[in-house]
């Protein structure tokens, strides 16, 4: 396998692990984040470990108008683009202050959708490519504990589904990644059940496998497909009284 891999939101733990996984396979890597200064050490790491060229790119997910220019400025249109942009936010803050809620929604849906949209158009024109969107199981059902984040992820999941449908005959493949719990900076300090919690490296390996096998929707860990099936199956009249 070859071709450049673009990692959007490159400073997250899942993004770092994903960049390493693809670099280990010999891919050129493009790392994009809001603060590229923080990525210098990661660039050095990928180059030192794997001997692949790595470039750094500034991108602001919320600055929608900049996205076309951002994609144009890349040294080459990537063969694979992985979007790891997202913020968990604080549900209580988001519920109390709608401006914060909107920020979370935009960061998890609007920004990623816009970036992948621009990339999708370019890949469609070229006639090849793979788009990987990291969404979340939180988008599979709205729950009191995280429905601001969850609703944005639901929007993103649906968006990815639509992109996939649109591009299926255009040579562009779309992978939806639905992680359950992952031991990352985002979840640090939370008491997560070990059996249901993946490492960032597990997510990265699953992404690589999904790209190689052209899988459509993957849950990481796989048990989450079953868990979310059960959770989605609970009638709303009952679900509303639960606190899952």
């Amino acid at each position: 396998m070859s071709g450049a891999v673009l990692i959007l939101g490159a400073s997250s733990d899942i993004a770092r692990a994903t960049a390493r996984t693809f670099a280990a396979k010999g891919h050129r890597i493009q790392l994009a984040a809001r603060d590229t200064a923080r990525l210098e050490a990661d660039k050095a790491d990928l180059e030192t470990r794997f001997g692949v060229p790595v470039s750094l790119h500034r991108v602001d997910a919320l600055d929608i108008d900049s996205h076309m220019g951002f994609v144009d400025s890349l040294p080459e249109l990537p063969q694979i683009a992985v979007c790891a942009i997202g913020v968990l936010g604080d549900q209580a803050d988001s519920a109390a202050d709608m401006s914060r809620a909107v920020q979370v929604m935009r960061s998890n849906f609007e920004g990623p959708a816009s970036l992948l949209g621009v990339l999708a158009n370019a890949m469609e024109t070229r006639g090849s490519g793979t788009l990987v969107g990291i969404s979340s199981v939180a988008g599979d059902r709205g729950r009191a504990s995280n429905y601001i984040y969850g609703s944005a992820k639901a929007g993103f999941t649906t968006y990815l589904s639509g992109l996939r449908n649109r591009l299926a005959s255009k040579g562009v493949h779309v992978v939806t990644v639905l992680p359950g719990f992952v031991a990352t900076q985002m979840t640090e300090g939370m008491d997560l059940p070990a059996r249901l919690t993946a490492s960032p490296e597990e997510v990265a390996d699953a992404i690589l496998a999904a790209v190689q096998r052209e899988q459509e929707v993957i849950y990481v860990r796989r048990i989450w497909r079953l868990i979310m099936f059960v959770i989605r199956s609970i009638p709303e009249v009952i679900f509303k009284k639960t606190s899952i």
């Binding site: 733990d13 923080r38 050490a41 990661d42 050095a44 790491d45 030192t48 470990r49 794997f50 900076q185 640090e188």
Partner: protein
């Protein structure tokens, strides 16, 4: 909050474990009170836990540069030796010094100034460290270079001079991923020592001692010598790809074994190896690097073999002139106690500089015991014998030594304490071990 212990799983401590990913994260953590940095948790005792805050350095695991002409690697402290080997052995480079597990971080290797089977020739890990970036209590970073106080106290300083952030180390050029191993069986402890003295020119040398069998055979051993295999020592079919070692299967211990199990298993394993070796023709044979340097790494979570209570390591070094008498005294004490050290390793050490590093010219003996009242009493006795013979103790193994023993064994500790106080480190960089030992 989380329960955390050393590799021996002895006396876990309730702590907050916080992963850091950058120098800025470490600086931010310093504002939260006393802390200790933790690498991959392979020190055996309580060196890398602290009831207040334990920094998980594995988020700082970036390799920053490598010079293929000189083998000089710059990397963050959380990089594992296993990663270094995975990336650079295929290019012909191997760690110049490695302990018995590849699952240690560079920062941990520096903090404990670990040694390997080549100590008698090459010295400790620190011999190949060009500089160390250390963050002090105020968040200031100093690049410590050889022949400075900070460098000297940081090697073997158990993370108590500040947080080790980055380092530059020199790797060793090798021609293959194989070792030419020469294994020799000995009948008595004296014969084991004699054998090690007679083979000082071997680049790698270590002995596995039988401390389970009672009587005169106690202390018999398998002396394992080794050297990196040149390409022409490989079978012709392997010479084109000399670093291509088939990955070993790893096993995982899924459950805690009853504490009794290991003694029996080890006794049989030792006897089998000993017998088998005796029947074999003497001479060198090819062993892959993983099997030679890291036999225990093949069993992930092998520390669960000692049961829930965990196990305790004892490792001392005795100076050359008292080593023989001291080793006999240690063996007799073990024999009298009725306890048996499951895995006993004897190693000849070479001369060693260093402000606070463990090694000295002489013999180091590493023992491990299931954690129970009897073995803890035995270790008090072994402490006394070590002190009587002018020896000292390896803090990376220690989980239970009282402060008085350390003070009696190692006069350098007073200087270490004074340095800590003077630099304002005593209240900020603290582990359960440093509290216990009054460091």
């Amino acid at each position: 909050m989380t329960q955390l212990s050393g590799w021996g799983r002895f006396r876990p401590v309730e702590t907050t474990l916080r992963r850091v990913r950058s120098q800025e994260d470490v600086a931010a953590a310093l504002t939260k009170g006393p802390l200790i940095a933790r690498g991959n948790g392979r020190s055996y005792g309580d060196s890398a836990v602290n009831p207040a805050l334990t920094l998980d350095m594995k988020g700082m695991d970036r390799m920053l540069s490598f010079d293929p002409d000189t083998g000089i690697l710059v990397a963050e402290a959380g990089v594992l030796l296993a990663d270094v080997i995975a990336r650079f052995l295929p290019r012909g480079w191997f760690p110049a010094v490695t302990p018995g597990t590849k699952f240690v971080t560079l920062g941990g290797a520096i903090a404990a100034d670990v040694h390997g089977k080549n100590h008698h020739i090459d010295g400790s890990f620190g011999s190949f460290v060009d500089w160390i970036d250390v963050m002090d209590a105020t968040g200031h970073v100093t690049r410590a270079v050889p022949n400075t106080d900070l460098y000297g106290w940081t090697l073997g300083g158990m993370g108590l001079t500040g947080v080790i952030l980055r380092t530059q180390i020199r790797l060793r050029q090798v021609e293959s991923g194989y070792i030419l191993q020469d294994m020799r069986a000995t009948q008595t402890l004296d014969a084991t020592i004699d054998m090690m003295e007679a083979t000082l020119r071997a680049p790698y040398s270590v002995a596995w001692l039988d401390c389970v069998t009672q009587g005169p055979m106690m202390g018999r051993g398998l002396v394992m010598l080794g050297r990196h295999a040149p390409v022409d020592a490989l079978p012709p079919t392997d010479r084109a790809r000399p670093f291509n070692v088939r990955p070993k299967r790893t096993l995982r211990l899924p459950v805690d074994l009853p504490a009794m199990a290991l003694n029996g298993i080890t006794r049989h394993a030792f006897n089998a190896a000993y017998y088998w070796n005796g029947r074999r023709k003497p001479g060198e044979r090819l062993v892959d690097w993983d099997t030679y340097f890291y036999p225990l790494d093949a069993i992930l979570d092998w520390n669960r073999g000692y049961g829930k209570a965990g196990f305790v390591q004892f490792q001392c070094v005795l100076p050359q002139d008292t080593a023989r008498a001291g080793l006999h005294a240690l063996m007799e004490a073990i024999s009298r106690s009725g306890e048996a050290s499951v895995l006993s390793v004897l190693k000849r050490m070479g001369r060693q500089a260093g402000r606070i590093s463990f090694p000295m010219a002489g013999y180091t003996l590493a023992l491990d015991f299931p954690a129970n009242e009897r073995s803890l009493r035995l270790m008090n006795r072994l402490d006394a014998i070590t002190v009587d013979h002018g020896g000292r103790f390896y803090l990376a193994k220690d989980a239970r030594m009282p402060q008085q023993v350390l003070d009696a064994a190692d006069p350098r500790v007073a200087g270490f304490r004074a340095m800590r106080a003077e630099r304002g480190l005593s209240d900020v960089f603290r582990s359960t071990q440093s509290d216990r030992l009054g460091l």
